[in-house]
């Protein structure tokens, strides 16, 4: 069985259409590469109660949970408070983060900035080469800042701990439409029920109409399924295999 993951995107700016979230796609693509099965994404507002409920539900359901957003110094940064509340933990000021902030900022340290040193009690800090905003781990939850550039840097610093057996993927670009090949895919799944089979119609491309994805963690199984699928297609149906 693959390890499973859930992603929680926290931010009114996404829900109100001001910002397009790109962090969930980054997490999904990276985790898939690592062999991890992302099973759900939830995008929720900057509200303590809702954050607590969602993160705890994800924590119970998936092996790992990744959150993005809501960890700055302002009134709408309530992710730490929300997650601590959800798990029934106190929020404490982490001495290592506070010390680094005071060293770097000196007299410019203020109460707002020190909120960025807050963590749920018992949290572990990861990617600590980062000055102020390490990844905060509490139970199986990894708390990331929302700014994509920082989130990506932090994820790359810790990603090897999530590596699992890889997925193998083949893509077949088919000239016929989904209406024509649907029954062939149904037949394929009867023979290869564990195959992860996706079918995606494409508009406005002359060379093919459907992108068919075949995936498995067992490369022999994948190859056999691919051969069977190819041999079931009408002559000339395959535009390209990737």
């Amino acid at each position: 069985m693959s390890k499973t993951a859930g992603i929680v995107i926290i931010g009114n700016e996404v829900l109100s259409g001001k910002t397009q979230d790109i962090n969930s796609h980054f997490f999904c693509a990276e985790l898939r590469q690592l062999g991890v099965d992302v099973q759900k994404i939830a995008t929720i507002p900057d509200e303590i109660e809702l954050i607590g409920q969602e993160v705890v539900a994800f924590s119970q359901r998936f092996d790992w949970v990744f959150t993005s957003g809501g960890v700055g110094p302002t009134h709408d940064d309530v992710t730490i408070d929300g997650i601590a509340h959800g798990f029934g933990l106190k929020v404490i000021r982490h001495p290592d983060i506070e010390r680094r902030m005071r060293q770097r900022l000196g007299a410019e340290v203020n109460e707002a900035r020190l909120r960025m040193a807050n963590v749920p009690e018992g949290a572990e800090l990861l990617a600590t080469e980062a000055l102020f905003a390490p990844v905060v781990k509490i139970h199986n939850v990894f708390i990331f800042p929302g700014i994509p550039k920082i989130l990506q840097e932090r994820f790359h610093a810790i990603k090897e701990r999530f590596r699992d057996a890889p997925y193998f993927l083949k893509i077949v670009y088919v000239r016929q439409g989904e209406g024509v090949i649907a029954s062939l895919m149904n037949d394929l799944l009867l023979k290869y029920p564990n195959l992860l089979l996706g079918s995606y119609p494409v508009l406005d491309i002359a060379d093919y109409k459907v992108k068919v994805t075949l995936e498995s963690k067992d490369s022999d199984y994948l190859d056999q399924a691919l051969q069977r699928f190819l041999s079931s297609l009408p002559d000339g149906a395959v535009h390209r295999i990737q």
Copy 2:
């Protein structure tokens, strides 16, 4: 009170990182423009049980629910089955859609294609100038196809039914960092507790460090809050107001 909405994105291709979902951002931006408050997005796999659970939960919690994806003719298109299952409804073949398909496709109609005529019993069809894939409405749920171009077309065809009192928005680009202005925003919210106030740090731009968004459905209230915020900022702090 604003009308509320939830968005359910259905598709393994998003969770496995193969496709970046752009439909949720489209829905969020369009609904905000219409004055609707989007409160949650869930992205879930192509699985009947999970689709039913999520859509019914959203239907109970929000005024309107918008789904995207999983309405084609293939094995992984199970949105209609999932939503019908969740509401305890039968799936029926809609006679209007079936008739159009037979008129257009003639002998090329097959069982797979006819799946696209399936709807939950009691569903209403909207945006029916579309040939095969109208918006399917069941209770307060609006079921859209996943292909962005088609989804956008269909949404524009029906969006006026969702129009509510508009949000008014002002954006202030501030030269100081969040750590400096956080306490000013806290003070502002004490005086204007109903203000929707967002604070977004920006990296790599020389002219300003934070984008502050002020929003309300009451334009007088918004103007007063804006004036108070501006007068609280240090001299020269404002780069631009929009």
